[in-house]
Each structure stands twice: as C-alpha cells, then as structure tokens.
Assembly symmetry: D2
Homo-oligomer: 460 residues x 4
Amino acid sequence: MARFRDPPHPLFRRLNASIPFDLRLGPYDVQQSIAHAQALRSAGILDDVELSRIEEGLKTVAGELDGGSFPVHEEDEDVHMAIERRLIELAGPVGGKLHTGRSRNDQVATDVALYVRDHAALGIELTHAVAARLIELAERHSDWAMPGYTHLQRAQPVYLGHHLLAYFWMLHRDALRFEAVRGMSREMPLGSGALAGMNWALDREAVARELGFDRAAANSLDAVSSRDGVFDYLAAAAICATHLSRLAAEIVLWSSEEFGFCEVAEEFSSGSSIMPQKKNPDAAELLRAKAPRIVAALTTVAGALHCLPLAYSKDLQEDKEALFDATDTLELCLEAADPLLAGLRFDRRRLATAAGDELLFATDIADLLVRKGMPFREAHGVVGGLVRAALERGKRLSELDRGELAEHSELLDDEYYDLLRPERSLESKVSAGGTSSERLAEQLEAARSALARLEAQTGR
Amino acid sequence: MARFRDPPHPLFRRLNASIPFDLRLGPYDVQQSIAHAQALRSAGILDDVELSRIEEGLKTVAGELDGGSFPVHEEDEDVHMAIERRLIELAGPVGGKLHTGRSRNDQVATDVALYVRDHAALGIELTHAVAARLIELAERHSDWAMPGYTHLQRAQPVYLGHHLLAYFWMLHRDALRFEAVRGMSREMPLGSGALAGMNWALDREAVARELGFDRAAANSLDAVSSRDGVFDYLAAAAICATHLSRLAAEIVLWSSEEFGFCEVAEEFSSGSSIMPQKKNPDAAELLRAKAPRIVAALTTVAGALHCLPLAYSKDLQEDKEALFDATDTLELCLEAADPLLAGLRFDRRRLATAAGDELLFATDIADLLVRKGMPFREAHGVVGGLVRAALERGKRLSELDRGELAEHSELLDDEYYDLLRPERSLESKVSAGGTSSERLAEQLEAARSALARLEAQTGR
Amino acid sequence: MARFRDPPHPLFRRLNASIPFDLRLGPYDVQQSIAHAQALRSAGILDDVELSRIEEGLKTVAGELDGGSFPVHEEDEDVHMAIERRLIELAGPVGGKLHTGRSRNDQVATDVALYVRDHAALGIELTHAVAARLIELAERHSDWAMPGYTHLQRAQPVYLGHHLLAYFWMLHRDALRFEAVRGMSREMPLGSGALAGMNWALDREAVARELGFDRAAANSLDAVSSRDGVFDYLAAAAICATHLSRLAAEIVLWSSEEFGFCEVAEEFSSGSSIMPQKKNPDAAELLRAKAPRIVAALTTVAGALHCLPLAYSKDLQEDKEALFDATDTLELCLEAADPLLAGLRFDRRRLATAAGDELLFATDIADLLVRKGMPFREAHGVVGGLVRAALERGKRLSELDRGELAEHSELLDDEYYDLLRPERSLESKVSAGGTSSERLAEQLEAARSALARLEAQTGR
Amino acid sequence: MARFRDPPHPLFRRLNASIPFDLRLGPYDVQQSIAHAQALRSAGILDDVELSRIEEGLKTVAGELDGGSFPVHEEDEDVHMAIERRLIELAGPVGGKLHTGRSRNDQVATDVALYVRDHAALGIELTHAVAARLIELAERHSDWAMPGYTHLQRAQPVYLGHHLLAYFWMLHRDALRFEAVRGMSREMPLGSGALAGMNWALDREAVARELGFDRAAANSLDAVSSRDGVFDYLAAAAICATHLSRLAAEIVLWSSEEFGFCEVAEEFSSGSSIMPQKKNPDAAELLRAKAPRIVAALTTVAGALHCLPLAYSKDLQEDKEALFDATDTLELCLEAADPLLAGLRFDRRRLATAAGDELLFATDIADLLVRKGMPFREAHGVVGGLVRAALERGKRLSELDRGELAEHSELLDDEYYDLLRPERSLESKVSAGGTSSERLAEQLEAARSALARLEAQTGR
C-alpha cells in the first residue's frame, strides 16, 4: 500500500502471516464474498456484468481451494487478502470492488462464526453417534452384573448397561451444549465494517439469510471485537473432552490384567517396540489424554481476550489455531470413540466374580435393620462392626453364623443370608434412576427418546 | 464408625475436612433434608411424629446456620455429617433415620446443583443490572463523538453511546448464558444413593418438584459423578469476567492523563501511600484483573475431573472452593460494576478533539472515489498515498490544496473537504448496526427490547 | 487523605481491601519496617528516640499479630496501612515518619519476596522429608517383586523398592527446584520507592543484608512491577504437586480390590455415610486432586501479569491469594504424604503373584534369541508369535513344549524355561539404573548421597 | 508384529500416529542411535562390520531428514519406527539389531531431553540478544525524561533508559532460567529400556558423555516416565513470554496517538484492508498475544501428567506438540523482538512534555516538608490538600502563590517552586536502583557486567 514505503521485515512476515493456518477458512470466505457481492449488486455498487465476473472468479477460487491448487504467495498476509489478490488476477480490476463496504475485521469474524456453526453441528452429530453406540452397548450388556465403585473401591453392584448409560447421558448433554453453541452463533458480523459500520446501506438482513444466520449483529463494534462464539464452542468441547477422558480412563483401567473387565480390539491397540507380549490400549489412552489440550485451547483464547480494548486488535488472531486444534482433536476423538466402543469385548465372568464380593451387600444388610425399625445411622454402625469382625476372623459375611450375627444385633435373621447375592442387591435398587432391571429398562427407553428428540430438534 | 478402630490422623483431618468451606451449603442441605424426610414419610419409613421431630430439628439447624450459632465440632468432616450430628443432638436417635435411602454422594451433588441454580439466577440478575446501566449511559452519551480504535490506533469516529452499547450486548449474552446454565441444572441427583440407586422406592419426582427441579436425574451413577453444572456455570462466568476485563481495561486506559476520556469517581478510586497527587482507578483495575482467576476456577474443576473413573471420588471435592471463589468474585465484580459505571464522568471536549483527527476520515475519502467509479482497492491505494504525502509535508488532510489532491486522483473534488468532519463521517455510517444517529437510535430500542424480553423470560 | 473528599463506596471497599488475606504478611511487614527504620536512623531522618519509639511500637504490633489480637479497622485497606495506622496509635505522630523513603509498592514486593523465600525453604524441607521416607520404604521393600507397567499393562517385573525410588528422584528434583526458587529471590525490592527510587540515599545494601537478601534490586521500576518470584515458586509447586498426583494415583489404584497391592492406614482413610463396608483411600485421592489447583494458581498469576504495563498496577494484588492457596495446599499435601506413606501396608503375596505372570518375561526370551545371533527386531516377531500361539491355545508360556517352541524358532532351547521366573528376569536387568538387586543397592546409595548433598547445600 | 492379527483401524492410525509432528526429532534420534550402536559394539553385540553398516545407514537417514527426502510410509507410527524401518531398508536385517537393549520409551525420552537442552540453549542466546539490544537502547535514551506510571496514572518522572532497563533485567532473569533448565536436563534416559533397565550391561556413562549429558539417569522407571524437563522449559518460556507481553503492551500503548511516545517501524507494522490511514503495531500486538498460548502449553503437559501411573503411558505423547508449539512461538517472538526494538523511534518532545506535568512532583514537595521536620504521613496529607486546591482552582502547582501555599503549611517556602521541574525530580532519585543519572550510569554498568557474566557462564 502506498501508505507504506518499507516492505515487511522477514521476521515480521513470519510472525504476522496467518495464511499457514487460516487458509482453511477459504471456503467460508468465498461463500460470504459471493453473498456480499450480491448485496453490492442490489445496492447498485456493482452492475450485473461486474457481479458475474466476480462470482465466476470466486467460484474458480473455490475450486482451487478445494482441489489444493490455490496459489499462495509469499506476500499473502492472510486468507482474505490472498483470495482478493487471486480474484483480481482472475477477474481483473473489478475484483478490487469486492472490498467495498467491508473490512477484514467483519470478514474474519464472519468466517469464524460460520466455522463455529459448522463445527457445532458436527459436534452434535458426532456426540449423537457415540451416544447411540452407548445405548446399543448398554442394551447388549443390560443384565451383566459388575461392581460399581466409589473412590475406586467396590461399592455396590450395578449392571454394566447401567454404567454405560451414565456416559450416554454425558454425551447427550454434550450434544445439547453444541446445540446451544449453534444457537449462540446466529448473528452475522458481516456489514459491521472495520468497527463503526459502513458508508453503504447494504441489506445486511438479506446477506444474513443467505449465509444461514438469523440476523445481522446489532452493534458493529461488538461484532468485530467479540470471540464469544469461539469461547462457547471451546467450553462445550472442553466438557465433552472431559467426559471422553473419564470414559477412556475406565477403559484403560478395565483393560488391565488386574481388572480384566474388558479388552480393546487389536485394531485399536498397539504393541511395544521391545516387549513382544504387549497389547496396549493406546486409543483409550489418547482419548483420555486430549482433555487438557482442549481446556488449554479455551484458556488460550480467554487469555488473548483479557485486557483487550475494543475493537479489533491483532491479538484476536490467536483464536484460530486454538480453535482449529480443538475441533480437529475433539472430532477425531469422537469419530474414533465410536468404533473403539463397538470393538470392546467385556468379560462377563470376571465382572460377575467381582460383583459377587459379599462386602458389596453391606448397605443392604443395614437397610434390613432399618426395615426392622432401627435408625439407619445405628444400623450403619452395626453392620460396620460386623464387617470388621468378618475381616478380622478371615471370614466372608456368609460364613458368619447366627451366633456371630447376634453379637452385633438381635434383628439379624435368616434374611441376612439371602441378601448376600448380587442379583438380590441389584434388583433391590428400585428407586427411579437405579440399576434394577425394571428401572434400567425404563432408562433405556428414556435414552432412546432423548436421542430421538435430539434428532428432531437438530434436524438430523 | 465401628468399621474403623483408629481415629483420623490430625493431618488427614486437615486435608480431608471440607467443613471450613462447605458449611455455606448448609441451608441447601437443610432444604433437601426436609424434602427427603417428607418423602420418607410418604413411603412409610417415618411416621408423623418422627417427621415432625426431624423437621423441627432441621428448622432449628437452619436458624443456627442463619444466625451463625451452628456449633461445628472438630470431628465434623463435612456439612452433611455435621448437620446430621446436630440433628441427632436436637431430635434424638430418630435423627439417625434421616439418612435412610440417601448418601452423601447424592446429597452433595444436590446441594451443588441448588447452589449453581441460585447463582446462575443471581448471574442473570446482576448482568441484567449492568446491562441496564449501560443502556442508560449510552442514552446519555448517544451523540458524543469519540474516536473508535482498532489496534489501539484511531480508526473511525463513533458515538460514545455506540461504544457503550457494545458492552451491553456482551452482558446481555452473559445473561442468556446464565439462563442456559439454569436450564442445564434442572435434574435432581437426590435419590441416586451412593451410586446405584436405593433400596427404597421413594417418590423422587415429588422431591424434585418440591426442590424446584424439573425432574429426577435419569442415571444414578451419572448423577453422583457429574459436575457438569459447575463446569457450565464456570464457563459462563469466565466469559462474563472476560467481558468485564475488557470494559475495565478501557476505563483504565481512558482514565489515563494521555487519553483523558473519563474519570472514575473518587469513591471508586484510591490514592497512593507516597504520591499525594495520585487518584488511581483501582476499582477498574480489579475488575480487569479477576478474569484469569475465574478461568483458573474452570481449569481447576476440569483438571480434577480429568481421568476420573465413576462414580464418586474424593477429587470431586475440589469443585467447591473453585466454584465458591468464582461466584464470590464474579458477583462482587458485577455488583461493583454498576455504581462504578454510574459514577464515570466522561470528558466531552477531549473525546471530541480526538474524534476531530482528520486521518479518521480516510475511509470516507476512499468511498468518495468509489462513488465516482474507482474500485475500492484502487481507491484505498490512492488515499494511502495522500495520507503519506500529508504526513511527509506536515499538513493536515484539509490543508492539502486542490493541486495536491490532483496529484493523487483527478476524481477528488470539493466534496473531499466536506468529508473531513466527524459529524459527516459518523452520520455516513448508515448500515444496520452502524454508529449513525438513526441506526444508534434503533439499536437503543433493540437493546431495551432485548432487556425486556430477558426480564419476561427469566421471570424477573 | 486530603486529596479525596468522598469516602470509598462500600462495594469498592469490599473489592479493594486486601487485608482479609494479606494480614498474614504482617510479620514480614514488621520485620522490614524495623530494618527500614534503622536505615532512616543511619541517614539521620530519625533520631535515636524516634527510632526506639518506632521499634517499640512495631514490636507491640508483632506481638499483637502473633497473638491474634491485632485490631483491624474497617477502613484498613491493606496490611501495610493497618500496621502504620496502629503504629501511630501506639507511638504517636512519629509513627508517620516511618513511611519516609518508601512506598507500598516496594513494601509489598518485599513482603512477597520474603514470603516466597520462606516457603521455598519450607518446600525444600518438606520434599526432603518425603524423599527420605521414600528411601526408607524402598529399603524395606527392596527385594519385593512386583509387575512394572506401561500403558497400565504388565510389562516387566521390578522390585517395589525400585518403583518407590522413582518417586524419590522426583521429590529430590523438586527440592532442587525450590532451592533454585530461593536463589532467584535474592534481590530486595525495598528502597525502590513507588517506582523511580527515592529522594533519600538510604543504605539499601545494609537493609538487604539485615533482611537476608543478597543485594538490593538493580532497577526500581522492575523491582515494584515484577512477580517473577511468585511465578518461580508456583512453577516449582506445580511440578511437585504433579509428582504427588502420580504417586497418589498409584496408591489409589493399588488400594483397589483388583490390584490389592497395598492398603492405606485407617487413620488416612474414610468410611462411607451409607455403605458400612467402605474404607476409602481419601488421603491419596486428595493428594492426587490438588495438582490442577496449584497449576491454576500459576495461570492466575500469569494471567494477571499478561498485558500489564509498568510499574505497579492493582492487578498485581491478584498474586497473593493464588500464592497463599498454593503454599497452604502444597505444604499440607507434603506434610500428609509422609505419614501416609509411612502407614502404607504392602501385600507381598499379591505383588509376587502378579509378578509371576509369565508374559512379563517375553522380552527376556527375545534377548535369548539375540544372544544366539538373531537381530532383535526379528526376535521380537518370533516371540510375538509365540505369545499369540500360547494365548490361542490357552497355555502359559511354560506349558509350551519343545516342539511348539520349534515351530517358532529352532534357537529356543531349554534355557527358555529357565527364563520364566521373576527372579531371573529381575536380576537380568543389569544396566545402570536397572532394577537388579546390585543396581538397586547402588541406586539406594546414590539416593542417600543425593539427600546428604541436599542437606549440606541447603544448610538443613 | 506377529502378536497382532488385525491391522490398525484407519481412525486409530490417525489418532495414534505421532510422525506428523515427531519427525522433527529425527536428527536427535539418529544421533542417539549412533551412540547406542557404538555402545552395542563395545559390549560385543555388534561387530565392526555391523556397526559400520548401521552407522552408514543412519548417516544416510540423517541426510534424507536434512534434505527433506526422508520417505515416510503410511504405517510409520512414529519417528523411531520410521527410522528403524528405513535403516533396515538401507542396511538390511542387521538394522534390526539396533533396537537391542533399548525401547521407544527411553528413546523418546532421550530425544525430548536433547530437544529441551538445545532449545534451552537457544533460549539463552535469544534472550541475551534482546537483553543486549535493551542495553543499547537504554544507553541511547539514558537522559530522555518521561513520566513513570503506576495504575496507568502518571506517577513520577523517570528516564526512558531506566524504564527500558527494567525489561533488561527481566530478560536477563529469563536467560538465567533457561540456563537452569539446561542444568536440569543433564541426565540421560537412554539405557533405561522399557521401564526396568536392560538385560545388557551397556556402558551408559560413555553414551551419556557422547551425547553431551552429565550422567545416566539413576532410575529406569523415573527416566521413561518423567517429563520434568519439558515442564521446566515451559515454565521458563511462560515467564519469558509474559515479560514480552508486558513490553509489547507498552509499545502498543505508547504507539497510540494519545500517548505518542514511540512509533513502530513500517517494516513491523501493518495497514488496514479498509482504512487507508492506518499503521498498526501488529508485531507488538502479536508479541503481547502469545503469552497465554505458551502458558497453555504448560497446562497441557501438566494436565496430561495428572493422575498418570508409572511408567510410560501414551498420554505422555501429548508433551510434544505443546513443546514444539511453545519453542516455535517463543523463539520467533524473541527473534522478532530484537529488530522490532531496534526500529522503535521515540518522540523526545512528547515524552518530555508529559514528564513536565507538575503533579508528578507532589512527592518531592512532601519530602521537602519532611526535610523541614514534618512526619511523612502528615506531609502527604498537606500536599494532597494542596493538589486538591490547585485542581479546584484550575491552577498548576506553580501558579499557586505563597499565600495559597501558606494555607496548607507554613513550611512551604521558595524551594517549593524549584521542585516543579522534571530534571530536579529525576536527579533527586538518588537511592541505589533509582533513576537519577548517576544511579542509572551505575545500573548500565551493572547490566553490561551481568551480560558478560552470562556469556562467560553459558559459554557463548
């Protein structure tokens, strides 16, 4: 530009150029440029011939971007200037009319909004797929007993299907969150100009409709300064990644020889370079490991926004690599989670053996005492003493005889022995949301309905 | 408990005890305990006399908590055990019946859900108040010209009212986000037991209604393991705090002698211990400084959840101090922001002088050339050259004569000189969302409507 | 102050006041104030009588702080002003001379430097204690075989002592890091004034010596603006907390019924409010859970410093709560780690049984083939095939007969069977730093020496 | 491998493959492989011919990596396997002998240690260069008066040279931190095998010397599990980036029209796509904006390590992209900072005008009163009242007459008027580390000495 005499310093070029990463916004940039050109035509700034030459040029650019043949020049600072430069090469000086009534500031905010919207939609689709897979797995394992854990100590038996559905609800909430992100990205920045609006009364609402937004952004300064959409996406992504982290952590744990509850398919495992026997659940470890990275993408963007006066500052450019890395990472994780889950093989016998641990039924004994009139807090103490006695005598609970029971409470009768079976404990969890078969069947039905509602709501 | 022989190690007691911070959940704990007791009555586990003794005891506890006289004992591990212990002191052994059919795991998840719901509501209220204040300020300063900035360089003039409304829209989105958080906290964990459900078919839906939830959580394992509500609140709080950070950063900047655009009221300023002339905008600096802390609360919770198998693990206790610090911090910031903004005094003269910088009108000159048929990109170059020439000759743009203009373009006529006034530039920003008076009036109207809709929607 | 007419707004007072948390800096503030008063005496600004009245007043303040009787007033903004106010109450107007030649800016930076220095020293002491405990445990379990893991899959046997020493080296590096933090906090900010230095040529080097610093800070602007010491401490604390997280995660894992490798002492365990059988390793869970919180303290401080122009801004006040929370948290964790580790009871039998898993010796078989001339990569493939064959035939490796071995390689002879014992595998790890008994004895010796060097170096 | 029948799932391949990013470790991998091969020769595992064929092959690989012609195959999981695969292609089956006595676990830890060491050295070099540039700038502007700020309010005058040296000391500490990082990376993981050590007594100390380490790591489990070196580097990088953020934030601020203290060179500035007059300090904005990203790299690694049992888990692979992004980002920032600083043009007149603001001398007036015997706290109040009176009367301090002064204190005499000059105030800051010319000259000398010591110490 004529304002400048000196060319950029090579180090500044490297620091400043966003084209190595923002080129992927190219298709969005072309899409909005076509809509913008049409608005320029409607306002009489372009005539029909000019519009069609610009549209033709932009379509060529789109093809080049798609085919990987788009020529990037060393002096291209960003995708917006590169496309304009290429358009002028293709269409001649008329290409220079396209930037009438817009700025890179509203342009990039619009590209980012389109990107967020698309990836929020993809987030819905991919979490939905994993959620559907979890329902399927839960159905297949709805009557497989296993120990439920708290503090990684065996607590009470649950059905594996019940455990798997816990993750269904997490993923389902994630889908709802991505839907909310989509809802928060309904305002179009384009037409805000550099920061103050434009000298041209283009029909922003028409452009917004054309690009699939609900409306034009209400305040030009806010529109070019805000990265709320990125923030919203990253918050939803961070929660979702944390859910995957917990699911994957359990798969790693359950795949250990000590737990032996499941085995990851070979096609999702790796060997060792040195230990020939190894079959490692690498896929699960990686799903687990990605959460901090996605949280870090959020903190990067929050950090870049901190203290930043309005309107656009170059710091806002830091949104993109963080966002792109997060979408790439999360989407790959979700895509891989589906076949990873599908390929898991659970070991019914080992699960059942662990679920047969009689200490898991201690609460049921306490509740027996409650049914006989003892306050729960007191019953808890009685059974605690019983457990201690059994451990000290090296006996299982069922090996204590009536006399030993009577040392702890006269209320313990033969029903005591009947409680020491996983089926009995499982089926006694009759409260809504509990693990008993009937409740689990209801829950499966609720999960299927929730998924169907989600499909209807999000138009999938 | 009889399960244990050894008392807790003093260091373990210090590490483990949550009562120093979770005591503030006491009122929620009492509230849910009353609802739970009523459900126990409905199920026949308590009789009327027992229920009324428990209710009476809990009401006494509520009063003690409220009045600061609740007695905390050294061995009280957490608020739940402390309240049960106190209840038994007050009501006798019948108090020990209250814990029938529930666990601390679902109890604490319910307390936290109630806390999140209340503070999401408070978030709506407080952001609403700041947003309303911003509308009022924007109205009062709707025709005050000032320079808009990009890259902290003067860019184009805007009205101060327009600039202030940019923050209105941020705060308005924050209110919507808190509303979404409230929407995500509609499921009641209580009744999930330790992890697997309960041996008692209490009417969870009735309890949920009583406590203001929409429904009982669908999966007991998920219900006691999830901290999604905390995560959701913290994400909304982090964005909101980042908005305040940007607003406050501008107040600090504008309060500098160099900008001189505004002055913070004395009652929100501090002096220096050594420099008698100082009047520092401490309140604004503090509003600015809090954002990283709230983001850190989010990362603390995300970190604690990372890798965590189901169901409850003690790591989940790390949610509370982070959440409490975030609510306290954000709410105080929002409360203080309102009178801070109300007390700002803007300097119309200094704003106007800065807005009169003729370089701010360079885009308008380029658009003049566009109106005369020159492609924008070319016009941009022409005006860039003109700017450079003016700077090199030490002249203002209005000091260039027709001959000098003609060196750059024959199309520059007398209208050129007419463009070099802030009013002209401001009023030419006619696009929707732009800063011209008419558009700003529309925007003010839209802001008032949005606020009214929010009030209606959130029942304020 | 006379500069101000309006008193602080109540909300500003709440937002601004640091005394609720910085009161704990009081003893440091008194200490530096005495040194400063002596420097004022040396420069002739105070006479002997004035100095002794100020010293006497400050000693009274120190006593009040120590005894918890220091009176905090509502209008006390921070600990510095509170102590000065109290000094004037005690010593009369002469107390107002103390602030000659200093500012709160250099004063608070000095308090913080003293605090960091003390807590770095405490960090050394506490990590040293845990490290010493780990040596002791390692010695006691130096010949207990257990499986080593990669990817949470059994990999090769190691001695438990070897495994425990891995944590020794982590803690030892932590101690070295805290020593480095102490080294980075050797410059005294005091005497930098508000930002530009003082109008009085006090002997800063004498004050520095008095307060135990190496020298006075070289640049007054840097001295009041920097929080590098806090950053350094928090970085060291974050790594240390992450080491504890890994150690504690293993204790939680090993305490599970499935692993059964160790048991946490009752005095570091908790029961369940509902499940009478539970004995949960809460202490280990909490040690594990604290790392993200300490990392968050670091990001809080980094965030507050981001974009902050020189010199002091109020944002710097955000360093203190983050720092205090981190020191409190880490120090309690380290203190608790020592008795927690001391009270662990390992189960030799379960460890040995797991270490007897023959698949752990696959690498040794591959190395047998290497010793017979086969390239390792090829040997790895041969043994991989062997493992697969054994798994498919449902046999242990020792159950394959010579004929079956020959299907995979003619080189597999009777030595093969001899390799399938943990002792053989353990003792074959003869490389430096390996787990064989001789190497482990050397490592124990090296660990003891490292600890002794640390003691000598840090003057403990 | 024969252990596996099924090939990796395409999605697993994408999730698992590290070669897209770890290929840059190739040169380190070759370097350590050559040293390892020599150790295998010394131990008699390779003969001379085998060694020379392996060395030759590895040198070819090194050339291919260097020239960008190294062929990556789809099934190459990581750089280690790719190089081994290529070596076998080049050297035949003997290449398969190279992996004797090592594992990818110790191999990758060694690559990372070498990478950290090199980039710590580069960190020293680059911070040194910026520090040297700051000394040069400080010398050139050692007697340029400017206002020093606290709370972004003018506080007291300083010399620009003094202000610039504040950053010198920050960068100097950064260099010392990178030196400490180098010191913490002196132990070689190689030879630790998968986790337990090796079946071969290779001479690890000789390999360590060959690779420039001080010694072999003492514990094989720790060596393959630790990422402390990465953590240390990232902590140092995060502090350094935060220093650059503050420096750059000041450049952005000072480049505003309102401050007008400096101008960024054209070759480090960008224009606007729409506003022809714009010259934006993009380079400074980008330097500023990178700090949160580097802090996020630290939190990513800390997060991946959280809860991770020993020894190697795949989660550790998350260290590399975070580390590489941080080194690339920080090094480019430091490289660009040098010419950016060199090209800054300060405006002596505007700086001096701002430094002439008489309110900046209020502390000097208070100290005048102190010299006349008034306690400082009282003097502060007197001058505060004087300032208020001047502001209310719309007068400069020098415009108050003797009568008006006397209203505030009888001690204010003609010296009062003499104090109201920047030179007088500047030269009165005589304390060590203060801004007076003599002290600044000493400081410049100290800075030059510190730099020379650093050069000597780090062997530059």
